[in-house]
Amino acid sequence: MNKALMKAVKEYLVLLLVLGLVLITAVIEPKFITSGNMTNIMRQFGPLIMVAMGMTFVIIGGYIDLSVAGIMSLVAVVTLSLIDPIGQVGAIFVGLLIGAAAGFLNSLVITRSGAMTQAEGLFISYGMSVLYGGTALLYTGGVTNHLSYIESNYSLFTLIGSGTVGIFSVSFIIFLFLLLILYIFQNFTYTGRAICLTGGNKTAANLTGINVNRTIIIIWTISGFMAGVSSIVLFSRVTTASPVLGKGFELNAILAVVVGGTSLKGGKGSVARTVLGAMLVILLSNSMNLLGVTVYMQNVMKGLLLILAIWLDNLKGRR
């Protein structure tokens, strides 16, 4: 009994810690539970959760994707610029395609070069992020473009950014829809199950007859695609597409995945957990804001959480 309890505590320690902090805030700062603040929180969690859901697959597969920041920036600037020439539906379609294609390109470099370790994947995706970010800057000449300057109809973006259906925002419905698809994909398809095995041990997965390269291509493409979706949702809400829009999202997404309890060693985890993790990361930064903790010290806390998570991961592994 006691052992089981200890095990559960170890398993969910990071989660419990964050939850504790959030609860303390709610007690100290009554503003936390006002409806204004809750709406504020609901609005924030769309883009981050979407990137984090894609990132979950990459991390389960034994890699880390640092390129999502570059992909988000690139998708935002290209999509916005295409609304006038090809219309809003076409622009969204091309934007999503660019996201998926960028992820696919990452996986191509990784599988072709045989980069099987997490470190290699991390560095290659960082280089790709520099490349995508540079392309975004080059494309706009470093200028931030505004949605309101668009001459043709952009009602779809307004809908994504601030529309509501009943009490739910449209971005929340998009998120639910994506969660459903990814959840089914992860748990009820052959490829989804294969990701766990690939992340656990690539050599063993290969010997079992799993097409490891194909799995790697799929996870990176999903991550790129989700970065694209998140980019469109984000710039619809802020109504500007900056060529550095995605900066910082990669680290927050990794943090969300880790806080949710997905192992950074790969082979274990789920999108549902990541949703919980992302929610807590947002709640955490919201409560820190309310308590008057500076953004800088929040970064320090995020770093500490990351180290704590990997340390706990390791304790679990050693048992």
């Binding site: 280089g127 800057l137 800088y296 970064n299 990997i310």
Partner: protein, 321 residues
């Protein structure tokens, strides 16, 4: 094996000394366009700017040789500069510089302790550490650049010996010599190759693997924060953003120089040449008036190409065995 073709020998040596050849090709190429690339001033200036990242790379090379990785060198660099400038207000300059340099040793000790003694993944621990350090640096400076008072500190990074050779180049060469001797002529340095080559074998050979591996992180942190002191002196300012791209640029330089991320192969001399590749490339692109954003794209492509080639090389060797 006996009659290995001449072509194959050449290919192998080009792959092995790719950084050296890259430097050669770029130097040859720059002979043609009409620029000021080949002026004494420009060459010295280029080396002067490159010195700082080179100092970072010497420490990091030791970590990578021993099979680790350190992404927090950017954070150590930033902390070194900020702490030096902040402490200079209340104490003599030499003490401030010492504090700045030792801050990296403290950071390295924490890294080493968590990574080696708790057997955690170095990449993620140091990634977390770099986030923490950036946060602390922002808190200390309120995310604004801070500058030192008085000219004496600035003279370290901007002075020239005999009026021609920049101080920083000389300091870089001294640090290089120190690390070269450590790697080449001390028991500790030789052991690092064994540890990076095969951790378990090194352990059973009686090497104190944990202590020596942790020591590499301390040295890397110290080298990085010392480089931060030099950078702050050169720019006469310190800011939390100076280290943003340091770790990955330096790692790419080290890898192109021929120190493998797998550990056990390489040396500080190779890192020096590897970083020279990036220095010359950046300088040449500036000389040719290439747009800054295009430069970023080119840098991305070069980094990916270098790392992918390194992985590919290892894959080929795996399959050969």
């Amino acid at each position: 094996m006996k009659n290995k073709g001449l072509g194959k020998t050449i290919t192998t040596s080009i792959v092995k000394y790719k950084a050296f050849f890259a430097v050669l090709v770029m130097l040859l190429f720059m002979l043609f366009p009409r620029t000021n690339f080949y002026s004494v001033f420009n060459i010295l200036d280029m080396l002067n700017s490159a010195s700082i990242l080179m100092v970072v790379s010497f420490g990091l090379t030791l970590v990578i040789l021993a099979g680790g990785i350190d992404l927090s060198v950017g954070g150590s660099l930033v902390m070194g500069g900020i702490l030096t400038i902040l402490s200079m207000n209340v104490m003599p300059m030499w003490l401030a510089i010492l504090i700045g340099t030792l801050s990296g040793a403290v950071i390295g000790t924490i890294n080493g302790y968590i990574i080696v003694y708790h057997k955690t993944e170095p990449m993620i621990v140091t990634l977390g550490m770099s986030i923490i350090l950036t946060g602390i640096a922002q808190e200390l400076t309120d995310a604004h650049p801070i500058s030192a008072e008085g000219l004496s500190f600035m003279m370290i990074g901007n002075g020239r010996i005999f009026g021609t050779i920049p101080n920083l180049v000389v300091i870089m060469l001294v640090v290089f010599a120190v690390f070269y001797v450590i790697l080449r002529y001390t028991q500790f340095g030789r052991n690092l190759y064994a540890i990076g080559g095969d951790y378990e074998v090194a352990k059973y050979s009686g090497i104190n693997v944990r202590r020596e591996k942790a020591a590499t992180y301390v040295l890397a942190g110290m080298a990085a924060s010392f480089a931060g002191v030099l950078l702050s002196s050169k720019l006469n300012s310190a800011s939390s953003i100076y280290g943003d791209q340091t770790a990955l640029t330096v790692i790419s330089g080290i890898v192109v120089g021929g120190t493998s991320l797998a550990g056990g192969v390489g040396g500080v001399g190779r890192s020096l040449v590897g970083l020279l590749v990036f220095a010359i490339m950046e300088n040449a692109l500036n000389m040719l008036h290439v747009d800054a954003y295009i430069q970023q794209v080119i840098r991305g492509i070069v980094i990916v190409a270098i790392l992918a080639l390194d992985s590919y090389d290892r894959k080929r060797r795996r399959e050969d065995v």
